[in-house]
Symmetry: C2
Subunit: 149 residues, 2 copies
DNA sequence: CTTGAAACCCGCCTGCA
DNA sequence: TGCAGGCGGGTTTCAAG
């Protein structure tokens, strides 16, 4: 992990389709050298995976909601149950276990308000440990990225 | 956009490195056919881009904070200023303009608490229109994905 | 760096609606 | 007749020596 690796990461985190040749001339390295570095970065887990980012709008996913969830009881079993549920529900794009007022903060993506209502029914009312939750409707997805460099 | 396209999207949204051949035999299509569909999906913007997902832990980005921001004044110019700022600050991974108590909800990724303090100084105190903000420290990134299918 | 193998891209042709 | 799938070429990219 040196500066060259970091430069490669900075580039591929916003575009994974760059060829080794393009990357190479951007940072001053031969294509095979770049490929070897990429291979190591993937194997070591620095690059976790490579994904296609889809357009929510083009696919009818018009609605994003950020939800703060307060649980009833906070013992370990309930926490794990809730986490497992979140991982398995497709509408939940992101789930964070946090300090502060809320126990969990979610980013939920659905087609419309009806689907959101169904989601809350399934996850927050039925057989659940949720005490309270507050929903914030997203009016503008100002910035959405996973870049960390 | 038919079922085959949707199947392709479902696969590539979690792994963009699948070859056209692999995709083809998963959904019953020849490799060239898959490539043509991918090309169209990219050109039409259904696939916005393809990115490498990096490991925050491996890169020292140990700290994720979810921030709710209430602005002082909500007129258009201040909103746009704030949005522009968020887009330009690298620590801000995500920024949503929302209904509800908070005007904006942010996902911020930093190395440590000191960097977070610097971030708040830069974005919330100096020459800014921020009335109040609350920080929730993330203890567990239970689920982080961009999948929408 | 060089080489062999594999994946991708671009024609053309065919079949079907 | 127009659109989508399949096949073949050449070209680029990838991966091992």
């Amino acid at each position: 992990m040196d500066d060259k690796d970091l430069e490669i990461l900075k580039l591929v985190q916003s575009n994974a389709r760059m060829t080794a040749e393009t990357l190479g001339q951007a940072i001053g390295l031969s294509p095979p050298a770049v490929q070897k570095r990429l291979k190591k970065l993937r194997e070591s887990g620095v690059i976790e995976n490579e994904i296609a980012v889809l357009s929510p709008a083009r696919l009818g996913r018009e609605m994003t909601v950020i939800v703060q969830v307060m649980l009833e009881r906070e013992n370990r079993m309930y926490l794990e149950n809730f986490k497992r549920k979140m991982r398995n529900v497709p509408a939940v794009q992101q789930c964070y276990y946090t300090t502060g007022e809320a126990d969990f903060i979610l980013v939920v993506v659905v087609n419309n308000i009806k689907e959101y209502e169904e989601f809350t029914q399934e996850c927050f009312f039925d057989e659940s440990n949720v005490n309270k939750f507050t929903s914030s409707i997203v009016m503008d997805r100002v910035k959405v990225s996973l870049d960390i460099l």
